[in-house]
């Protein structure tokens, strides 16, 4: 008996929308279908929609702080009406408000949107569907994973409304700002809530990640050998492994932080002098750098946790919509492996200017630059897959190509900042902001959009509107470049990040026009995202109904399920797999699904 049968014998095989009376099945109530659901597809949608809410909040926060950066001299009285005095006294974002906005923006986008929203959604949705399983190894743990994430979100959201404001020391939460309540308003209750929220978030990621790995390695259907798995699954596997191995280290860093904050220990704190209380701390011997090590040991793998799912989906979408096999499947898997391994060996490139031993610095620079190799293999393979393909520019495909473009643009500057010598100049400037927003922020957002547009028919049984999607794509692509490209020049000129007002600074006055321009593009691009939201929610209920089981002519298993699959995914037996997922344009056939047995006459490469 297979693992699936062992674990999911109770799921029943199926309940189609129409086969209303299924006797042997538990009663489905609103609560256990939409709220405490254990169906991986519903949990995926919960992650997605929660992630979208957070993206909206996080994006709006950036609109607010860009108002300050673009228009430092102006005041907008309605802002005070909207946000209150603490944030916007006299219609101008306050300094404390500014730092609170930047910090919350970073935390929310990195963790809630691009980690939970991205891998939470697509790992949950695609893993069982694409490997041929009825559900996750442990549907219950999976449900818990979502609810821990939800609780983390509630606490983070609440922290925005406490009297002293949310945490304001940057998404990296370095001590002493994060360890000392007296250091800044946000370091008080806001930080307590930040840390509780993040601890819950770590638990959520671990529960999810363990499940994803166990499911992929143990629950594949008959014939689905590892080398027949779609690249999405490989990418989600490495993502989960990265998370399971690096989040606990972050947690250990947080535990020490909690002790320093609340129990007077000296892990990170030393006898520093505090202006707000006009005394030196009684602590002795702590080292803030220790936190940086623990943080970046997670922090760097984290950026790949954000990146890899997008890479996997993009590989899949590009291959389908070029009607060609993915170029270099094994090289794609190998480079994912290389990236995941190197991700653990480069964290100190975030610490080149902390007084790190220059010899160590050069080793970390070398290891960092090595990442360029697997990264370029991937880019090369995406481009060669596109090359002379029979390209269909669906919205998903456009965003996938946009992803590749962003990844190249941002990846190239990785080589700049990866050199310790250059980084001494570039560290903590707008150059770094430009680098990671292009390579991680925007690129992964594009991967997420690509995934949503592409798999929407499978999620909701309807299609999204293409015209709106195209408008959304072009505004977002052009907007993203106009926002982040100029920041490279600002950074090269030495403009530091995380400052409240550059207009009072002689050297950076020259940028006030540019800053205004960037801010205006931010506002337009943000509004364009509302097109996506409208399109998404409208289409759930009113979109064109999907009538074709396999609208893209794709090979993978999710398209063999009914248009609105019930819990258990396949009404009858789980289909058996006979070949890899990329037989497009083989032997003159447009596509050959994974469930098609290998014909006698067929040419022999890849099964």
């Amino acid at each position: 008996m297979s693992n699936a049968a062992v674990l999911h014998s109770n799921i029943g095989t199926m309940h189609d929308d129409h086969s209303a009376h299924h006797e042997h099945h538990h009663q489905e109530t609103f609560i256990n279908k939409y709220v405490f659901s254990q169906d991986h597809k519903m949990i995926a949608k919960q992650f997605l929609i929660t992630g979208m809410v957070w993206a909206l909040i996080g994006g709006f926060l950036s609109v607010l702080f860009r108002m300050q950066l673009g228009f430092p001299e102006e005041s907008f009285p309605w802002l005070e009406d909207l946000l209150g005095k603490w944030w916007a006294a006299g219609g101008r974002i306050t300094a404390q408000g500014y730092y609170a906005l930047v910090t919350t923006h970073g935390t929310v986008l990195v963790f809630f949107v691009l980690t939970a929203g991205l891998s939470g959604t697509f790992a949950n949705f695609l893993i069982p569907l694409q490997i041929g399983a009825r559900d996750m190894a442990s549907p219950f743990m999976n449900m818990l994973s979502y609810w821990f994430f939800f609780a983390a979100g509630v606490i983070m959201l609440a922290s925005i409304f406490v009297q002293t404001g949310p945490f304001s020391g940057g998404w990296t939460a370095y001590p002493p700002l994060s360890a000392l309540g007296d250091a800044s308003p946000g370091s008080k209750t806001g930080m307590d809530m930040w840390i509780i929220s993040m601890a819950l978030f770590v638990v959520s990621s671990l529960l999810g990640g363990l499940n994803y790995i166990a499911t992929i390695l143990n629950m594949r259907t008959k014939g689905m050998s590892m080398t027949r798995m779609p690249l999405t699954i490989w990418a989600l596997l490495f993502t989960a492994i990265l998370g399971v191995l690096s989040f606990p280290v972050l947690l250990s860093g947080f535990i020490l932080l909690i002790f320093d904050r609340n129990f007077g220990t000296s892990f990170y704190l030393s006898d520093i002098f505090l202006a707000s209380t006009n005394t030196a701390l009684p602590n002795e011997g702590g080292s803030a750098i220790l936190f940086q090590h623990l943080f970046w040991f997670l922090g760097h793998p984290e950026v790949y946790i954000i990146m890899l799912p997008a890479m996997g989906m993009v590989s899949e979408i590009i291959s389908i919509n070029s009607r060609k096999p993915i170029f270099g499947y094994l090289a794609m898997v190998g480079s994912l492996f290389a990236i995941a391994t190197l991700a653990f060996l480069v964290w100190a490139h975030h610490m080149f200017v902390t007084g790190l031993n220059p010899f160590l610095g050069s080793i970390f620079a070398l290891l960092t630059l090595l990442i360029a190799l697997p990264s370029s293999i991937k880019v090369f393979n995406w481009l060669t897959t596109l090359w002379r393909g029979n390209i269909r520019l669906t919205p998903g495909m456009l965003f996938a190509i946009g992803f590749v473009s962003m990844f190249i643009s941002g990846g190239l500057t990785g080589i700049w900042v990866g050199n310790a010598t250059l980084d001494i100049h570039l560290h903590d400037t707008y150059f770094v902001i430009a680098h990671f927003h292009l390579v991680m922020g925007v690129a992964s957002m594009f991967g997420m959009f690509a995934g949503v547009y592409h798999w929407f028919p499978k999620m909701y049984g309807r299609h999204m509107n293409n015209t709106l999607a195209y408008i959304h794509f072009w505004i977002t692509l052009i907007g993203a470049y106009l926002i982040f490209w100029p920041m490279h020049y600002q950074g090269l000129a030495g403009m530091p990040r995380r400052y409240y007002d550059y207009s009072i600074w002689e050297s950076f006055k020259q940028f006030s026009e540019l800053n205004r321009f960037i801010s205006i593009v931010v506002f337009i691009t943000f509004i364009a995202q509302l097109l996506f939201l409208i399109n998404f929610f409208y289409s759930i209920w009113k979109g064109r109904k999907a009538t074709n089981l396999n609208p893209y002519g794709a090979n993978t298993l999710e398209w063999t399920t009914p248009i609105n699959p019930g819990h258990g995914n396949w009404p009858g037996e789980i289909p058996e797999v006979h070949r890899w997922a990329y037989d497009y344009g083989k032997d003159g056939k447009d596509f050959i699904t994974q469930t098609t047995p290998v014909g006698e006459e067929e040419s022999t490469e890849h099964h």
Partner: protein
């Protein structure tokens, strides 16, 4: 699921446990490497570990033995024996955690504060590392109690070895983890 035909794949729940063990190891790797970094800086207090940590080692090893016997009894379907050994294991686990707490107090009483502004990171680490470990032991105790209660109210005649096997693997793991931590702390004084 009584008569499962032999399958070559490991049961997913056992597999998940092994991954979780990897994850817990990473957390302690984080804590112990933080300890190493700190130890190489000035002002790292040196002191002897309280004797009770040796005694608690004996307790946790004993509990591993009883856990092993419990699993054996379960597999032999000797329910009463199983209940007895699982109770013993849980009791020894709780005793272990209590002894660790006594160890903390012992340090405090000998003028080595673990928390507060007078504390030295060397001592605080003992509290954090051993405390987090003890929490893992207590988590195991809770799982043992749940298993016991389930066995008590069991109505059917069906047996499933998997949960007990998972629990026993976890229990041996926290035992081994403790021995690693003890050796680590003795080595790097």
């Amino acid at each position: 699921m009584n008569n499962q035909p032999t399958t070559h794949r490991i049961h997913p729940h056992k597999f998940t446990l092994w991954m979780a063990i990897g994850s817990i190891c990473m957390m302690f790797a984080g804590l112990t490497s933080a300890y190493i970094v700190k130890r190489n800086q000035d002002n790292f207090l040196e002191f002897d570990l309280p004797i009770i940590f040796w005694l608690s080692t004996i307790v946790i090893i004993l509990s591993s033995v009883t856990m092993h016997l419990a699993l054996k009894a379960y597999k032999a379907r000797k329910t009463n024996k199983f209940k007895m050994f699982i109770t013993a294991t849980a009791a020894l686990g709780a005793l272990f955690a209590a002894m660790q707490a006594v160890g903390f107090l012992d340090l405090e009483n000998h003028g080595i504060p673990l928390i507060g502004f007078k504390s030295n990171a060397a001592a605080s680490f003992i509290l954090v590392i051993l405390g987090v470990h003890a929490l893992h032991v207590l988590g195991g105790v809770v799982a043992l109690v749940i298993t016991f209660v389930k066995a008590l109210f069991k109505k059917t005649n069906q047996y499933n070895n998997i949960p007990v096997e998972v629990l026993s693997t976890y229990w041996h793991f926290v035992g081994i983890l403790w021995i690693y931590l003890l050796v680590f702390l003795i080595w790097l004084r």
